[in-house]
């Protein structure tokens, strides 16, 4: 099995290397073959791995492949670890990844940098797989930074528009802040245990740390990393801008997989978080806040992809909330379902955008129901799942989250926020659908229904509907949540919330035009649309001071003393030279003066 596991990330890695080196010379077809084929292969391998894993009564495999390095006091190896959690992640990544690769073949057809695109995309898949398969924190960190790099490269894929480059840099730098926190967390582990093997160090922590606040620190720093990668408060600002990348990229990286890495990290190290309940509460709070704020922002966005971006932030917020309340399995469950329906939404959005000649502004859309029924169907299913309408996959996962959260912690502030979030989610899902497909047609589309575009969508529709049925072998990864009794009213409330939102939405959006106006141009709306002003805040707090510093000290103030010395010695030189007047008697005066000086010093 070891070899199999090894090949899962290796396939896309090799193909991406091949594409990077030789891609420019290959035509589109071989490139597509290579790009998609590699991912398909690794999907097959992972399927095999998952099957044989679940066959072997779910015992985790730890695989020590090669030593990476052994320094004085630190040993690190390329070790892989495969358990239920990895299985779910691998499945999601390769499965959804494969579909999105297929879709991209059609979507990117004719682009000058076709090969480069697939090289990056494969590299991303490889890195993501390394990230989730890593049995060693340093290897995980490699994947962690690797996916960050790929996201940077893909956001800036169309590098000729400067704003794309800016968005890409912003994404990387903001997440790097989180990465630094993560790195510091790892440093503590190194200091304490002298190793970075995930399982061992978590076990060590379980044994050694109860009571000590070290667990708290490590958990906090890990949370920092997770927050950065998963675009949660306060580091969420990069994700909406990241939509500058091609739509499949947004679907794969900025919705389905990479942004959930933070969730994976916390789930993976839950052993440590369990030791620090206060940090766990913080996680829940962060999640709840984020999901509500992002949902509100999503409610008032105009740009189609920005709506989806904010909804992504908000959904990941749900996952964090779940993690924070100890509902780990629910979080991972939602991670999977979200991957399905959010990928679906993005790809469908991509289709719409393409057929509207890269028009992204929802204000110029509408009435697309008749010309593009298939997309409408996809959107309907996606929005339903997003809004967690009953019988969709999203419904089950979100229910699980809210109920387990209630069961664990009762109805706290965070819980009510989450509940409210559910309502808002329903609202903006509805608004999205209405904006796109109902009303009168503003821009005439040229529907593009190539099979390569449609098939992946179809499959994703099915997954979005019935993905909840896929079993998750998580029972022996997480300590099973104690089954507390959830009263019926709560059940009903959770069940009803999306429906209420839907009804309210219909009532608001269809009956009351002025509310729509309010959505478009309210002060509150503008504030929300600007993402609650976080960007402005950071601009003033961090960016401008940094730029100012850079500007004032471009010429390196540390050089001034040197210049000063040079200057003084020049002055002295001139002064002394002036004394050298050439007059005999002045020289004689010099002698006499010197004599006086010496006599004065001596006597």
């Amino acid at each position: 099995m070891a070899a199999l596991l090894l090949w899962i990330p290796l396939m896309p890695l090799l193909s991406s290397l091949l594409l990077l080196l030789a891609g420019a010379r290959l035509g589109e077809r071989p490139v597509a073959l290579l790009g998609v084929g590699s991912v398909a292969l690794s999907a097959l391998f992972s399927l095999a791995a998952i099957l044989s894993f679940s066959a072997s009564d779910g015992v985790a495999w730890g695989i020590e492949t090669l030593p990476w390095f052994s320094a004085l006091g630190l040993e690190v190896g390329f070790s892989l670890h495969f358990d239920g959690l990895s299985a779910v992640m691998v499945g999601v990544i390769t499965g959804v990844g494969l579909l999105i690769h297929l879709y991209s073949v059609a979507y990117m057809a004719g682009d000058a940098d076709f090969a480069r695109f697939f090289a990056y995309l494969n590299l991303f898949v490889a890195m993501m797989l390394i990230l989730v398969l890593a049995g060693d924190f340093l290897l995980l960190y490699l994947g962690w930074e690797g996916v960050g790099l790929c996201s940077f490269l893909l956001i800036g894929f169309w590098y000729r528009q400067p704003e794309n480059g800016y968005a890409a840099r912003k994404a990387f730098v903001v997440t790097r802040i989180g990465d630094v926190a993560l790195a510091l967390g790892l440093l503590i582990l190194v200091q304490q245990f002298g190793m970075l093997n995930i399982q061992d160090s978590v076990d060590q922590a379980r044994q050694l740390w109860p009571g000590s606040d070290l667990a708290g620190w490590v958990a906090l720093l890990l949370l920092g990393g997770a927050v950065g990668k998963s675009a949660q408060l306060p580091l969420q600002t990069w994700l909406p801008d990241a939509m500058a990348g091609p739509t499949p990229v947004s679907a794969l990286i900025h919705a389905a997989t990479m942004v959930t890495a933070g969730v994976y990290l916390i789930a993976r190290t839950q052993g440590i978080f369990m030791l620090a309940p206060q940090v766990l509460q913080l996680v829940a709070l962060v999640g709840a806040m984020t999901l509500f704020l992002a949902a509100c922002s999503a409610l008032v966005q105009h740009d189609l992809k920005r709506i989806l971006a904010y909804s992504t932030i908000s959904q990941i917020g749900y996952m964090f909330f779940a993690l924070g309340t100890g509902a780990f399995s629910a979080a991972v469950f939602h991670l999977m379902t979200h991957a399905f329906f959010k990928a679906l939404l993005f790809l469908a959005a991509g289709q719409v955008i393409m057929s509207l000649h890269h028009e992204q502004d929802t204000r110029r859309m509408g009435g697309l129901l008749r010309p593009m029924p298939f997309s409408a169907l996809c959107f309907a299913i996606g929005c339903a799942a997003l809004a967690a309408l009953p019988l969709t996959s999203g419904f089950y996962s979100k229910d699980a989250i809210l109920l387990q959260a209630y069961a664990q912690g009762g109805a706290g502030f965070a819980w009510w926020l989450a509940l409210a979030g559910a309502l808002v989610t329903a609202l903006y899902s509805l608004r999205l659908f209405v904006r796109l497909f109902l009303g009168d047609c503003r821009t005439l589309p040229e529907p593009d229904n190539r099979p390569l575009l449609c098939w992946p969508l179809g499959i994703l529709c099915l997954l979005a509907l019935f993905g909840a049925l896929i079993p998750q072998p998580l029972h022996d990864v997480f300590s099973a949540a104690p089954q507390a009794h959830v009263p019926l009213p709560v059940h009903l409330l959770v069940l009803a919330m999306p429906v209420i939102g839907l009804v309210a939405g219909i009532w608001l959006l269809l009956r009351h035009r002025d509310w729509r106006q309010a959505f478009a141009t309210g002060a509150l709306a503008r504030w929300w649309r600007a993402g609650w002003g976080f960007d402005v805040l950071y601009d003033w707090l961090l960016v401008r001071p940094l730029l100012w510093l850079a500007r004032v000290n471009r010429r390196d103030l540390a050089d001034l003393p040197v210049q000063l010395l040079v200057w003084t010695s020049r002055i002295c030189h001139q002064g002394l030279s002036r004394l050298q007047s050439g007059r005999l008697r002045h020289y004689a005066v010099g002698i006499v003066g010197g004599a006086v000086l010496i006599l004065a010093v001596v006597l």
């Binding site: 030279s577 050298q580 005999l584 020289y587 002698i591 003066g593 010197g594 010496i598």
Partner: protein, 474 residues
């Protein structure tokens, strides 16, 4: 009491004196520069060869005035070599310009200077000091002003040499006045002119020593007694400038070493602040004055001021550091060798044309015009700056060693600062020399002397052991 041993010990001095007289007579019979040069060099060569034989095993006191010992031997050899090199430079000058100037007597004067230097090297008595000093001075007045002989013309060389000669004469006489007055005070105080510890009853000793210091500081061109040196260097004929820079300063420094060595140490203690002041002033002032100087000869004058400043560290360390004496002795060698090289090079680069050009620009593109000369110049400058594999580095190494051994930390700090400034203008010349080829100007003769000196400078820089064995030690 003069016996055979004493006569044998005095042989070098007598030989040099004979050389002077002989050259004079030769010039009297046939006015031929070649012949005079031949006689001069021959005499000096003889002196050099007989020197080892003449030196007694044990230090020998010849009259109360002179003491012939290893110290004398080392410096005598050094000075004779320097004088020979200067003689060679002079010869080249004669060959280079055919202005019909009569140069025979200059060899006589050179020999007299050398005689004075030898006397100083052996002096253990103020009378000897005085005689030697004035022998050098008076002869060098004449040498500096030598070119102004002949009918007056608008020739700049003539005018400058006259001016330099007069300045040198007047100022140095003033300085000698101070020196003599100082000696007089000491004599008045102790009743003896021998180099020896002064008796404790010293009311006049301090002023005496101070005045003595004034005179010495002038001859060594220490700030603030340095004003004369750039003008003299510039005005005097290049070989004579080299002579003034090396022989007279070296000899005087030697005699000071001897004086301090012979018991005057506790007097030194009282002088230390003054000497330290002079040293710091010279190290900084000299380098600062040279910083942006555009005339190469003046620049050398200033840099030699700085070097004498470094050298003073030795005088201060002499009481506390075992290496002080040898450090001083070696530094004089390194300094003389490098300076001679520099002047020889000036002679053959700047005085190639009929009108000498002492601007730094004269060296522009030298390394491309004449690679070997360029390399020599670079090595000479590096040696002045004290960069390894040149004799200058060993010298500086010795000085710093003495300073560290004696714990003169503040002076060492000043030395570092001074050297840092110095690096600027040495490198500046190198950069000018590396500049792309400027107008192609010719190269005068005498480059072999430069090569020889440079070679020596590198050899001693890499493997100074042969010399180190000869160094006088406490």
């Amino acid at each position: 009491m003069i016996g055979a041993a004493e006569l044998r010990a005095l042989l070098p001095l007598m030989l040099v004196a004979l050389t002077a007289i002989g050259t004079l007579l030769l010039a009297g019979f046939r006015r031929d520069a070649r012949l005079a040069a031949l006689g001069y060099q021959g005499g000096l060569l003889l002196t050099l060869l007989t020197l080892p034989w003449a030196l007694p095993e044990q230090p020998l006191e010849v009259t109360p005035l002179l003491r012939i010992d290893g110290f004398f031997g080392y410096f005598a050899a050094l000075f004779v070599l320097v004088a020979m090199a200067v003689g060679l430079m002079m010869q080249r000058q004669v060959r280079s310009k055919t202005s019909g100037e009569r140069v025979e007597e200059s060899y006589v004067l050179l020999a007299i200077c050398l005689l004075g230097a030898l006397v100083l090297a052996g002096a253990q008595h103020f009378a000897a000091l005085f005689v030697g000093l004035e022998l050098i001075s008076v002869a060098s007045f004449a040498l500096v002003a030598y070119p102004c002989g002949g009918r007056p013309s608008t020739d700049i060389r003539q005018r400058n040499s006259l001016e330099a000669g007069l300045k040198y004469l007047v100022l140095s006489s003033v300085a000698s006045g101070f020196l003599l007055f100082g000696i007089g005070c000491l004599y008045l105080d102790s009743g003896s002119l021998a180099f020896a510890p002064l008796p404790p009853s010293t009311s006049l000793a301090l002023p005496g020593l101070a005045l003595l210091l004034v005179g010495v500081a002038f001859k060594l061109a220490l700030v603030p007694f340095h004003f004369w040196s750039p003008d003299i260097y510039q005005g005097a004929p290049t070989p004579v400038a080299a002579l003034v820079a090396t022989l007279s300063k070296g000899a005087l420094f030697a005699v000071m070493l001897r004086y301090l060595w012979f018991g005057a140490l506790q007097e030194l203690e009282t002088l230390v602040p003054a000497v330290a002041l002079l040293a710091s002033l010279s190290m900084l002032g000299g380098n600062l004055l040279a910083l942006r100087q555009r005339d190469i000869k003046r620049l050398l004058a200033y840099s030699s001021i700085a070097h004498l400043g470094y050298l003073l560290l030795v005088l201060l360390a002499i009481g506390h550091a075992g290496v002080a004496i040898e450090a001083g002795a070696f530094y004089v060698l390194a300094y003389s060798l490098t300076t001679l090289g520099a002047f020889a090079l000036i002679g053959c680069v700047c005085e190639a044309g009929d009108e000498p050009d002492y601007r730094l620009e004269a060296f522009a593109g030298l390394i491309w015009r004449a690679p070997l000369l360029g390399a020599s110049l670079m090595l000479i400058l590096l040696s002045l700056a004290g960069i390894p594999l040149t004799v200058g580095f060993i010298g500086k190494f010795y000085i710093v060693a003495a300073g560290v051994d004696a714990g003169l930390w503040w002076l060492l700090a000043v030395l570092v600062a001074g050297s840092a400034i110095g690096l600027y203008y040495y490198l500046r010349i190198i950069l000018i020399m590396l500049a792309p080829q400027s107008e192609p100007s010719g190269i005068g003769g005498g480059r072999w002397l430069v090569y020889g000196l440079t070679l020596l400078l590198v050899l001693l820089g890499v493997y100074p052991l042969p010399v180190l064995q000869w160094l006088p030690v406490l």
